[in-house]
């Protein structure tokens, strides 16, 4: 939709000195294809990770010291770790952990951010003043430090990790949402809706939300990748997820001890991480092109 808007604006009633048209005509189609491809690959990854118990012949936690630190072979396509556990199985199970954590964190942060930021932007006043200060404080220190401290205090568990990362991320959504609502609120169509007698509820749901959400969704997509990175970083430090749960960060942590003898223990989980995050980045960029071509949202998560 927005694509057409750009050029229609130029040849409609408001011609600027520069036609606001993309320079490369195929660029957009390409990114749209990127979105499709990314979604497909991610879909396959999610499916594989959830079907892992059916696909993999090994229990990810089955310790088999006799076959420890084996190089990739037919039996163990990606080798085994120091406890003889199958790396491929652990990678697949780890994907599930990463996806679930990331999704929970983003949904948690997104809902909190949309509700609080949206309300602050729309109603303004003292509540907005207070909330803005709280957001500023949350954004004015490195998030991962806060997550570290939180997990240090609460102890490592999947739930604590989700809470910690959620609390780190919600503020950027709230700020973005607040800014969006503030700018959308000033549009004539919102005034127009007020003049024809629409209720606050109607104005919020019908007029403001649909026009404010696009960049927030883009940020959420990019954040899926960032959260996976943050979670992996915390696990890598041994502070995220308990060692019994297979996870890419902790696999890397365990693997780094055997870098000289078994470098594949370092390479494969990292590769899995990078590929996943690249996919989410591409997806986010694609969404931005489609939903919100004007603005560049820099999602700066912690990792």
């Amino acid at each position: 939709m927005v694509k057409i808007m750009k050029s229609a604006n130029y040849f409609g009633w408001h011609p600027g000195p520069f036609p606001q048209i993309n320079w490369a005509p195929y660029h957009k189609i390409l990114t749209n294809r990127t979105v499709t491809v990314c979604l497909m690959i991610l879909g396959v990854m999610v499916m594989l990770s959830f079907l892992a118990p059916l696909i993999t012949p090994y229990d990810p936690n089955a310790i088999d010291l006799k076959s420890s630190l084996q190089s990739p072979s037919v039996d163990h396509p990606l080798g085994t770790d120091h406890l003889g556990r199958d790396v491929l199985s652990r990678l697949l199970y780890g994907a599930k952990t990463s996806f679930l954590i990331s999704l929970s964190v983003v949904v948690f942060a997104l809902s909190l951010g949309i509700i609080l930021g949206g309300a602050a932007g729309y109603f303004g006043g003292l509540a907005d003043e207070i909330l803005s200060r709280v957001i500023d404080i949350f954004l004015s220190f490195p998030g991962i430090i806060f997550a570290l401290a939180l997990i240090g205090a609460l102890g490592s568990s999947v739930l604590n990790l989700i809470i910690a990362l959620g609390l780190v991320h919600w503020a950027s959504y709230a700020r973005l949402m607040r800014g969006q609502v503030l700018s959308v609120k000033n549009n004539d169509y919102v005034s127009s809706a007020r003049v024809i007698g629409a209720s606050d509820r109607r104005i919020l749901i019908k007029h403001i939300l649909p026009n404010a959400l696009a960049p927030v969704i883009v940020l959420a997509t990019l954040d899926m990748g960032h959260v996976i990175l943050s979670a992996a970083a915390l696990s890598f430090l041994g502070l995220g997820i308990p060692p019994s749960v297979p996870e890419w960060g902790s696999m890397l942590n365990a693997g780094k001890e055997f870098m000289r003898t078994a470098p594949y223990l370092t390479i494969f989980p990292g590769l899995a991480l990078t590929i996943t995050v690249v996919l989410f980045s591409l997806l986010g960029d694609g969404f931005r092109e489609i939903l919100d071509p004007e603005s560049e949202v820099m999602g700066l998560g912690a990792a």
């Binding site: 806060f146 990078t274 700066l300």
Partner: protein, 313 residues
Amino acid sequence: MFHYLLKRLAFMGLTILAVSGLTFFLMNIIPGGTAELILKHTVLELEEIPTSEQIAEISSQYNLHDPLYIQFGRWLADALHGDLGSSYILKKPVTYLLLLRLPATIYLALASMTIAIALGVPLGVICAVKENKFTDYLLRIVTLVGVSMPGFWLALLLILLFSVTLKLVPVAGYGGIKYLILPAIALSMHTMAVTLRMVRTGMLEVMNQPYIAFATSKGLPPRYIIIKHALKNALLPTLTVLGLSLGYMLGGAVVIETIFAWPGVGSLLVDAITARDIPLVQGCVLTIVGIFVTINLFVDLIYTYVDPRIRYG
């Protein structure tokens, strides 16, 4: 301007206070745990379980029976006098430990920042000028991977290649420039990629502005237009991101320092958290947040200097 500065300083104070308070209450969330911890690190042998008398004694010695807010108030009052308490595990004043570790962290952050800016800005300009050509695509792919790759994995790969296989630089440690290279590269990668991306989009956007067309219509040479008219405008949004990136860097430094056994505040923090050494955690968090907040104040001040449209009353 003075007014604005005052307001910013006040807010800085508020932020640091809020973060310290938050960390303090979080760390003390498990009641009675503190006394047990102190005992574990002082008198007890391994695996020995503390008796309730011992806990009571330590509690009264460290005033742990007081409500948390009074304990925090006490910590705060001491902190204002430069006394951040004493570490349980290392049994030394936290201030002393921090001062010992701070130079290494700053050294590393500065080196990484320099790499990120020195590579990110010119490469971003090149990308924009060569838009949709091979160079642009190549650099964009590098950027995408740079943004997505976990810094700690890059660090491991670098060690694997340059230290383990090629044996060019030491695996870890602290010392001359040889020790600095790998951690600095690993830490700077993400910021470099973000900078490149920001400069590229900024340049493309600016090059489409009417004032660039007008400058062209004046008959100015393209090189002059890019440097004098476009770059300055394109760098403005990058500046804000660089300030934020520093926070990212300080966070990333925690992991990178641990990998390279770099004796900075980051690795100290990880040790402190693992051991639940509350005063030390407090001190590290305070330091990192302090640096971050100060740098961002500077970024804002530079912003007002560069952009004449912003003047704070």
